[in-house]
Structure formats: C-alpha cells, structure tokens
C-alpha cells in the first residue's frame, strides 16, 4: 500500500517536472524572441473610438491644455499659441488635422511633438499617452503601404493602432495651408 502513494507522488513529481520544464522552455523561447525582435516605441492614446499613436522619439512633453491663446483668422486646425520652454508654439487640433474626427471627451492634454523638421508644435489629445511598443517589422511594412501620414499597424494581440508619421502629417498640412492661400 505504501508503494502506491509513492508511485503517485513520483508520477506527480514527474508530471510537475515536465510541466515546469515545458513552461521554462516556453519562457525561454519568449525571452529569446523578445530579445531578438526589434521594436518601435510609441506613445499611444485614444482619439474617439480609435487608438492612435506617435513615435515616442518625436514626443517632447505632455502638458495640461491651458494657457493657450486663440489666434483669430488662423487656419481652422489651429487652436492657438502657447509658451513652452521660452519658445512660442502652435497648438493644433489633431482631430482636425486628420480630417474631421469625432472624439469621446474634450481634449485636456497637449502633446509637444517634434514635427520632423526640428520645429516643435503641440497637438491636443484626450488623455496622457501610454508608452508601448510595436514590432518594427510591422511598422516598416505599414510605412511601405501607407500613402498618407497615418499608418495602420496591428499589435501582437490584433489591435489596430493608427500610427502617425509627424513629418508626413506636417508636410501635408503645410501644403494644404499653402494651397489654400
């Protein structure tokens, strides 16, 4: 009788060992793949019902949306101007730049962004963005597909992120402004 429980214990031990070994192997694989896979850091935020993001390296600061002076007679996408570290920056409506977008709550945050030409500007945002990563390969693939300033990239869990290319966004909006005049 004594042998039976021991056998059970041994069997359980063996099963546990196998389980732990499989789990370790899986974690090792995950670790190896995550080390090997190049990633693209992004700052992700909601815009209406969708998820948008900016490359993290283009983000300089997130500020509360206040002390913005409206600029009468400016382009419709311009919310106003504000002071940031001794400079005068424009605050722009991201929803308007993206062609008229619905939003869930009134933006309360300004993201100070490098436009890609060395100048800074601020974009309004519904919430403070969350830093996260996307696979670099998927970003590159989306970049190759995209014609406009927004790339559609899927995360590992199949969530769609609209990744904004600041350089393209501002060159498009400036061209629009020039043509409009």
């Amino acid at each position: 009788m004594k042998g039976t429980p021991r056998m059970v214990d041994e069997a359980l031990e063996e099963e546990t060992r196998d389980l732990l070994a499989r789990r370790a192997a899986r974690l090792r694989e995950q670790g190896e793949s995550s080390v090997e896979e190049a990633v693209h850091w992004i700052a992700e935020f909601p815009l209406g019902e969708e998820r948008y993001a900016l490359p993290l390296e283009s983000l300089r600061a997130a500020l509360p949306l206040r002390m913005v002076t409206p600029v009468p007679l400016s382009e419709p996408a311009v919310i106003g101007v504000l002071r940031f570290q001794g400079q005068v920056l424009s605050a722009l409506s991201l929803a308007s730049l993206l062609g008229g977008h619905g939003w869930r709550q009134d933006p309360a945050v300004l993201l100070v962004v490098d436009r890609g030409d060395g100048e800074l500007c601020a974009l309004d945002c519904e919430a403070i963005p969350r830093p996260t990563t996307l696979s670099l390969a998927s970003v590159e693939a989306a970049r190759a597909r995209a014609e406009g300033p927004v790339m559609e990239v899927f995360t590992q869990d199949r969530q769609l992120i609209h990744l904004i290319d600041p350089k393209r966004l501002f060159s498009v909006s400036e061209a629009g402004v020039r043509h409009g005049r």
Partner: protein, 721 residues
C-alpha cells in the same frame, strides 16, 4: 618673413580704424561736390578732410607702412589747392580722391592680412594719382575743366579681386579678429538671448507674486481680524517689499544683459547705408545721371547678420532705381523735375517689425512694358495676363528672369536682381511690396521681423480676446462721440482733426463678431501706419506694457494680422497686431454678408476649434463663445442662423441657455443643436426635452456629420438654409 605678432595686431587694428576714417572722408567728399554749400560749411569740411587725411598718413607712418603714408600724402597734396580757395570740389577731383582712398584701403587690408610683402610697387599707382592730380592753379580756377577725362579712369563699381585699380574695399572690416576678444558662434549668442528672455519672464512673475502678496494683505485686513493678523500682515508686507526690491534688481540685470547683447549683436544701419551713397554717386556718374541719396533712420541698430543679408538687397534696389527709375537730367528737366534725382532710404522699427523703404522720384514702372516682357519671356500666358490687375502685374517684376532691358549692360538686363531681393527678404521671413506711379516714382517696402529687445505695446480687448498694438502706431485714444461719427450704409467714419478716418471695429476685423458702429463712449484708437490712419474701435483699453515680441511659429506666421506674440506676467501669450494690417482696406477682407452664420458655444477651446473647422468647411461664418453668458451677449448683438452648444458647461449649461433663448421672442425659433461628450440615452433625452432641435455626441461629430445635422435642423426650422 616672420612678422612680429604684436605689430601684426597693430596693423590689423589700424586697418579697422582706417576703414572708419575713410568712410568719413568719403562722406565729406560727396558733400563737397554738391551745389549750394555756404563757404563756412565748405571750409569746415575741407578742414575736417585735411585732418582725417593727416591722421591716416601719421598712423601709417608710425607703423612703418610707407606706401600708405605716401598715398595719404599725395591725397593731401591734391586737396591743398582747393582747400586754400574754399570752393566746391570739381567732380573729377572727387573721382581721383575716391580712387586714391580705394587704393589706400586695399593696401591697408592686404597689410592687415599679412600680404603686405606681396603687394605690387605702389609707384605706378602713385604716379597715376600724381598725373591725375590737379595742378594747383588749374584746380583753383577751372572747376571741372581740367579733369574732364577723369571719369573714364574712375574705379569700376564692382571688381573681381583686390587689384589696385579696382573695387572699393570690402565693407565688413576684420574687427572681430583684430579685437582681443572671444569668438562665439551665433547659436551660443541666440541661446544666451533666449535665457535673457526667460529671465525677463521670471522678473514678470516676481512682479505678479508681489501683487498677489499685496492682495493677501488686503484680504486679511478686510477680515476684520486686524489685531490677530497684525504679525502675519507685517511679515507679508516685509516679504512683499523684499520681493519688489528683488524684482527691481532682476529688472536692472535683464536690462543690462539685454543692452550688452544688443551691443554685441547689433550695429547701426548707417554702417551699411552710408557706403551706398558712394555707390549711388559712382553709378549715376557712370550712366550720365545725377542722383542724391537721402537716408532716414540710419541710427536704428539691427542684428549684424540681418544687416549683412540686407546689404545686397539694398544695393540691388538702389542700382535698379538709378538705372531703371531715374531719367536722364535733360528728360527730368523737361518733365518739370529737378535734374538731380532723389533717392530715399527710410528705416523704421515698429515693435518687432522693421520697415525698410527704398524710393525714387523717377519715371515709375511702365506696366505696359512689364506686361509685354512677362508674356514674351513666358512668365505668364496671355490669358493669365488678361486676368491680372495692375498690382499683380507690378509684382511680376519679382519673377525670376524678368528684365525690361533688351540689352545687357554692366548694371542690368540679365534678369537677376529683384527676384534675388525677394528671395533674400523671404529667407528672412519678411516680405517685399512695390508701389509705383507713372512719371512720379517707385517705392519698395521691405517688412522684416526683428527679435531682439523689448518695445512698448498698448494692450486692448475685443470681446474676450486681448491683443497688443505697438505704441509707435498709436497716435491717440479717445471715446466715441455720436457728434463726431458719420455712419454710412457700409461703414462709419470719424471726424478727427479735420479729416474723416475710416472706423474699424477690431472684433469684426478679427472675425469675432459682426461689425457695428461704435457705441457712445466706446474706446477708439487712432492708429497710423505707412501714412494711413484709421479709428480702431475696441471694447477696452487695458494699458501699456513693455514687452518682448517674439516671432510666431510657422503654422501661424503667415496670418497677416499678427506680427508676433509677447509673454504677459502670468505666462500667457499676447498676440501683437500688425499696424499695417489694421490700416489696410478692411472691406475686401470682410466675409460676404450673405454667408450663413453659426454661433458655437463650448467651454472647451479645442471643441470650439473643431466645430469651427467643420462649419467653416461648410461655408458658414462662425463666431465663438466660451460660456452661456457670452453666448447671450453675442445673440443680443448679432443674428445667427444656428447655434451649436455644449450640453455640459459650468455656470450655465446648454439646457439653461436654450430655456433663456426660448423665452425671448427674437430667439424663440432659433435652431439649436446640443452636443455632449456623454453619449447616453438619458443625456440625449435631457437635451431634446430642453427644446433643442438636434443632439449629437461629440463622438458623432466626425467629418460631415455635424454639418449634415446643422443643415437638416435649419431646413426643418424653415430657416434661410
């Protein structure tokens, strides 16, 4: 050959000094050849000239620069007979003396650069000077006659290199290298300027803190607890005093730093304008014309980099004016003008804007010729040309490759010039405009941003918008009086010092409200710019401030109304108006009265901006209000076709605003659409139950949806839509 570094330093310093002296001598020579100077004035100039030449000779000799000493000596010899008789200097003599000065300066520069040993023997050049020099008796009795051939030997205006017969010396002395100082990059200085501006903001904040402390003391005193708070108030009062002293000291430091930076980074515009006198004189001589350049505002100091870039542009404009603008003396006389053409350069700084005006009293721009050439050179098609008005045709002269010259001369005809001027001005984020009247002359106005130093600004308010106006543009302020206003069907005029000035409502001009004649007692500013005046109606005059005006970012830089922004004491920005925009013809800019009007009421700045963008895209004229109370004010003054209102606002929410509107006969049937961040059935029911004609969640306000809802609601209400 090894050169003693100390001696080399002295020679470099001498070259800088010589350049300054030669500039003075040049100005005196140009003065001496003019008509109509009194004997006393002539004598003074001759004395000064002699002294300057003697200084050059003495300084050169003391450094062992024998060749320069000899040249200066020859120049003194040439001057002596004329000085003795105190008469107007004949032009050929002026030519020779100017030529001698060029020679002197080129050699001085070569010595300063360590190239003195490689200079050719000055004997030949000196011999030429001697040969050309007036024999004393001839110079004294035959002004002009003995030297009639001299202009042919006059120095060329632009030479390829430092040949002894060639060009005037480079204008920029090697002062920096000659000074025993530091070399710093422009970026380092710019960064330092930014820090000074930040310090200025800190000073403003210190002032604000001091005012806050005073308010706290006053509040404590009002509590009626005088005895209990006595110690605290004494302490606060002492801290307030210390803070004020600190603020004053900081202010002094900021001013000193700013002055120091100005001295390092700026120089008077005369340093580039005065040499142009010589250029105008030489060029007009070469072309057989007569011209006189007057300079106004030469004392204005500007950024050295800006001046260096502008120098080329001004040379182009003046060469153009002499060559194309001014007529030959006989032609001018026939047209009833003085045979000497008048050129004027005017420099004026208003706030952070620099106005540079180059004008002539010549023949003006021939628009027929411009049209012909533009079409011939393929710059525009005949169809395009037919649609252009005179101003647009005039602007064609800035096109690349444009020239009305059929032949290429030393001066012009290559089609390179005004396009380069425009490119230079635009590279400095400025703009250039031209005005011209046939037979009367041409005027180019360059407007450029300058960003150093503070300037006085008058702060005013239109509705909720505070703006600044450079004080230089404000002549006076007054309150509106019905007996001085002439209200017409299209616009009002103010009777002011015997003139009728157009009345401009700032709020309407900025698109914040519809234009209405000023109410009795409403503040008005008399604003002038470029000789035009308007009476600017504002809602309040807040007061004057000394502010640093900074350029606007690229997204709003092209908005014609604004020249920059300045930081106020609490850190918020104040937009500064361009006076030339204020006085420009506002009627052209006004939106057609037939367009549909919408009022957007939302306490969120971004929501207002988004709704405005969507509605303007649909052809609406949009006015904004940040609260229900402001909306009621707007609705009492203006009429609107539709109101888009946020449901959830502080103080007065959307339902309350609707209730107030429905209570009034005038607004009972006004279509109102409520929008809300709450996308729920109860919010929708609450909104519609309040009497709204439509309800949208902000999520639904995507492109086209808001506009569709607005048009639908207006249609249902039987509105004008």
């Amino acid at each position: 050959m090894a050169v003693d570094p100390m001696l080399q330093g002295l020679v470099a310093g001498f070259a800088v000094e010589a350049q300054e002296v030669i500039q003075k001598v040049t100005m005196d020579l140009l003065e001496l050849e003019r008509e109509g100077l009194e004997n006393d004035a002539l004598a003074k100039i001759y004395t000064r000239l002699g002294r300057h030449l003697h200084t050059l000779k003495g300084s050169a000799a003391s450094l062992g620069l024998q060749d320069l000493g000899d040249i200066a000596h020859r120049l003194e010899d040439a001057l002596a007979p004329l000085k003795a008789t105190t008469q107007k200097m004949p032009r050929p003599v002026v030519d020779i003396l100017l030529h001698g000065l060029d020679l002197f300066m080129l050699r001085a520069q070569a010595h300063a650069d360590g190239r003195g040993d490689y200079l050719p023997d000055p004997a030949a050049a000196l011999a030429q000077l001697v040969a050309s020099a007036p024999p004393p008796e001839a110079a004294a009795v035959l002004p002009g006659g003995a030297f009639a051939q001299a202009p042919a030997q006059a120095p060329a205006l632009v030479g390829p290199g430092p040949s002894e017969s060639g060009a005037p010396p480079a204008q920029e002395p090697q002062g920096e290298s000659a000074d025993a100082g530091w070399r710093v990059s422009a970026r380092q200085v710019t960064s330092l300027m930014r820090e000074v501006e930040r310090l200025r903001e800190v000073r403003l904040r210190v002032e604000e803190r001091s005012r806050e402390l005073e308010r706290v003391s006053t509040l404590l005193a009002k509590q009626g607890l005088l005895a209990e708070t006595a110690e605290a108030r004494t302490l606060l009062s002492g801290t307030g005093r210390s803070l004020r002293t600190d603020g004053e000291e900081t202010s002094d430091i900021v001013d000193a730093l700013e002055e120091g930076l100005k001295a390092i980074t700026t120089r008077p515009t005369r340093t580039i304008l005065e040499p142009l006198q010589r250029m105008v004189r030489d060029l007009s001589r070469q072309l057989g014309k007569e011209a006189r350049l007057s300079v106004v505002g030469a004392e204005v100091s500007l950024d050295r980099r800006l001046l260096e870039k502008l120098q080329g542009a001004l040379v182009h404009l003046l060469r153009n004016a002499v060559d194309h603008g001014l007529e030959m003396p006989a032609e001018r006389e026939k047209a009833g003008k003085h045979q000497e053409g008048a050129l004027t350069l005017r420099v004026e700084q208003q706030g952070n804007l620099l106005y540079l005006e180059a004008s002539d009293d010549g023949r003006g721009i021939d628009l027929v010729a411009v049209r012909r050439v533009a079409e011939k050179r393929g710059l525009v098609t005949a169809d395009e040309l037919a649609r252009l008005n005179d101003n647009q045709v005039r602007d064609l002269i800035f096109s690349e490759g444009f020239s009305t010259r059929t032949d290429v001369t030393d001066t012009s005809g290559r089609g390179v010039g005004l396009d380069a001027v425009r490119a230079t001005v635009e590279s400095l984020q400025g703009r250039i405009e031209v005005a011209s009247t046939r037979g009367q002359g041409t005027r180019f106005v360059l407007t450029l941003p300058v960003d150093l130093g503070s300037s006085p600004v008058l702060m005013v308010r239109a509705l909720e918008q505070f703006v600044g106006l450079p004080m230089l543009a404000v002549e006076s302020t007054q309150l509106a009086r019905a007996d001085l206003l002439r209200v017409g069907r299209r616009r009002a005029h103010l009777e002011h010092l015997g003139q009728l000035l157009p009345v401009v409502d700032l709020g309407a001009r900025l698109g914040l409200r519809a234009s209405t004649p000023p109410a009795e007692g409403q503040p008005m500013l008399i604003v002038q710019s470029g000789g035009r005046r308007v009476a600017l109606v504002v809602d309040a005059v807040v007061g004057d401030r000394d502010l640093v005006i900074r350029p606007l970012p690229s997204e709003v830089r092209d908005v014609a109304a604004w020249q920059g922004a300045a930081t106020l004491s609490r850190g918020e920005l104040l937009l500064i108006l361009r006076p030339d925009w204020v006085v420009s013809d506002s009627e052209k800019a006004q939106v057609s009265a037939a367009s549909r009007r919408a009022l957007v009421v939302d306490d969120s700045l971004t929501a207002r901006a988004l709704h405005r963008a969507m509605l303007e895209a649909g052809g609406f004229q949009v006015h904004l209000a940040a609260s229900g109370a402001r909306a009621l004010e707007r609705l009492a003054a203006d009429t609107y076709d539709v109101v888009i209102c946020d449901l959830d606002m502080e103080e007065m929410d959307g339902t309350e605003l609707i209730a107030r509107l429905r209570d009034k006969k005038e607004t009972r049937t006004l279509p109102v659409i409520l929008v809300s961040a709450h996308d729920s059935a109860p919010a929708r029911e609450r909104g519609l139950a309040s009497g709204a004609d439509g309800f949208l969640s902000k999520r639904e306000c995507a492109a086209g949806r808001l506009l569709a809802e607005v048009l639908d609601v207006m249609s249902r209400r039987g509105s004008r839509a």
